[in-house]
């Protein structure tokens, strides 16, 4: 672990049940119980946390500075050392990990949340695209993912039945995940945008995730089996789909190399692949062997709360180490259309 100045581990993870609609809940009401649960798991109080960082999106909330309200859920009084990324919570975790590496904090609370139900998230995500040349055409998120799936099929790397198998396996696995939105047998369904069928696409839903990080011996005191972050890195690619090979994810491969994924085998992978076809791309980029357990939580095909789904992958990976179910896990988060930006973390349990 000499790669970084300090050993840092995920010592607790909590998430909400991910639901199609949460009309009766404000974001604060969604976030608070999850924060209470994750802190309770460590015995720490909000005021004892060294640094807090969150991830969310104003465009999902439909208002500017939406995260100012959720800060109420943290209980930021007396004032706290706190920051926010307008990104998936996986990147909030990265910022918090850096903060602990500086030595300015020994613990961090990381959370993220998203409510997709108030609008059409397919349409909302078009606002992520080049505002002058692409966004005015309103190409929706499923259509862009379908372009990627089509490129994969045309290149001979997969076919529709293999994609269907990814969806079926994910929702099978989710049967054991009480928080998942879609569980058990889910029909492959009709085409949404060819070649993607309903079963190849993530559910639209609302949800929250939270993680507590701690350094060194403090992590050992707070958690029986800490999930050490032995490597973490993230990389971005060009925005324009025309400038990318959609059948590959060089940013994932590069982040994985920097995070040390290839230094030793992993037994489990939690991949943020909202579309079945994206799991194919990520497996290749990460060089996952056939015997690696992929998305035992059900992954984003079972629950994909925007802005939280990536942090959930890290949390699920850590929770397996906490339970002793895995020893070396790769966790992945993505942002942007067709896997434009990717974060990769390696989590390991103590050798025993």
């Amino acid at each position: 672990m000499a790669r970084y100045a300090r050993e840092v581990a995920v010592v607790a993870f909590a998430q909400s049940d991910h639901l199609r609609r949460t009309d009766e809940l404000s974001e604060v009401e969604m976030v608070m119980p999850v924060l209470h649960r994750v802190l309770a798991a460590t015995g720490l109080k909000a005021g004892e946390i060294g640094f807090t960082c969150s991830g969310s999106s104003d465009y999902l909330a439909g208002r500017a500075f939406s995260f100012t309200m959720t800060l109420d859920g943290v209980g930021a009084w007396p004032p706290i050392s706190e920051s926010h990324v307008e990104m998936d919570g996986a990147w909030a975790l990265y910022e918090a990990w850096v903060k602990i590496q500086t030595g300015e904090a020994d613990t961090a609370l990381v959370y993220s949340y998203g409510k997709s139900s108030p609008g059409s998230v397919r349409d909302v995500l078009t606002r992520q695209l080049d505002p002058y040349y692409v966004a005015p055409l309103w190409p929706d998120a499923v259509a862009l993912a379908a372009l990627q799936a089509r490129a994969l099929i045309d290149s001979g790397e997969t076919d529709e039945s293999a994609l269907a198998a990814v969806g079926a396996r994910s929702r099978d696995a989710a049967a054991a995940n009480p928080h998942a939105q879609l569980r058990g047998p889910v029909p492959q369904g009709d085409y949404q945008v060819r070649p993607l069928r309903t079963g190849d696409c993530p559910p639209v839903g609302d949800g929250v995730a939270a993680v507590v990080l701690a350094a060194g011996d403090l992590a050992r005191r707070l958690c029986e089996r800490p999930a050490w972050i032995t490597g973490i890195d993230h990389r971005i690619e060009a925005h324009s789909l025309g400038l990318r090979d959609l059948t590959d994810s060089p940013s994932t491969r590069l982040a994985a190399a920097h995070a040390g994924v290839f230094d030793a085998p992993v037994d489990t992978a939690e991949l943020h692949a909202p579309f079945s076809s994206q799991e194919i791309v990520l497996r290749k980029a990460l060089g996952l062997a056939d015997d690696v357990t992929v998305n035992p939580s059900g992954g984003a095909l079972a629950a994909n709360p925007m802005m939280a789904a990536g942090l959930i992958r890290i949390g699920e990976a850590a929770a397996r180490i906490h339970r002793g179910a895995s020893r070396r896990v790769v966790a992945h988060a993505t942002s942007g259309p067709c896997l434009q930006q990717n974060l990769v973390a390696v989590l390991e349990g103590d050798a025993r």
């Binding site: 300090r6 007396p78 990147w91 850096v98 590496q101 606002r127 002058y132 971005i236």
Partner: protein
Amino acid sequence: MSKEPVAIVGIGQTKHVAARHDVSIAGLVREAAARALADAELTWADIDAVVIGKAPDFFEGVMMPELYLADALGAVGKPMLRVHTAGSVGGSTALVASNLVAARVHRTVLTLAFEKQSESNAMWGLSLPVPFQQPLLAGAGGFFAPHVRAYMRRTGAPDAVGSLVAYKDRRNALKNPYAHLHEHDITLEKVQASPMLWDPIRYSETCPSSDGACAMILTDRAGAARSPKPAAWVHGGAMRSEPTLFAGKDFVSPQAGKDCAADVYRQAGITDPRREIDAVEMYVPFSWYEPMWLENLGFAAEGEGWKLTEAGVTELDGDLPVNPSGGVLSTNPIGASGMIRFAEAALQVRGQAGEHQVPGARRALGHAYGGGAQFFAMWLVGAEEPTS
């Protein structure tokens, strides 16, 4: 455990104006980044990571614009982080970038903040109606004016103090080629005769809406040794947050601001900020926030901030110059405004501030705040490498 010392070796800004119709958002940010690289005499290939910040996405109508801006900022194949902490974001962004170097995760980092307000309308971007939640009362002025009134009532400050600040900052802006407002015919009488917008805040005591970007290159000790120009060194940096609304909140002098300043001074070994700090770049979007923040930041005792302003202490030639650049009152690309404060503080201690240079400035404070006066970000920079 020791942190890596962090040096600012490149600074770039755009000329801030009401509307940059000649460039896209990508063109705007690239201009500032290219100037920062040129200042540092580095190339895109020397940059290990990019940290970008801006205030809400609604201001340009682009969701998570870092995705679209990756190409323009040379970030392809690199790590890119997007920070958003409301009005304090420019400062927070610089601090996140600084931490990457301090933690020895990366050696040389490009950090940038921007706003292209002409792409939409900031006041309405802040006023989207959400059921059962308090909107920001038609722009920020409506939110902050009552707190200015509370300050005046609490301290007995005379009505003229606000206009003194605006008159000073607008004159300072004339010496800053990048400032948005260059009001060559400004007089104190004109400020005082300007229309009342949100009583007691007059039109000339408010910030403009600007298009602009600011970028900095941060690097480690080895990078600073290679730098052709003097570096500014980070001696302390901190962020603090508190809730928007709660019983007991002091809107005039928020606890989060006091705690943030105290943390920065502790890191930098400052015990008497009024004597030990040579220049302050303070986030003053409405003129009365200068005396208010003078108290909050520990430059004056409670109730005494307005006396420093009235006595000319905060003038460019006073003994505690505040906003020699002209400040937010003269230039306000919201998402970039905090970073401009941080960058201008660095320019001062590098001796690179041109006509608005404070002679002999060795230590300067950059300050930003946001939300309902609840998010604070500050750094203290010095001309010399920190000793601890």
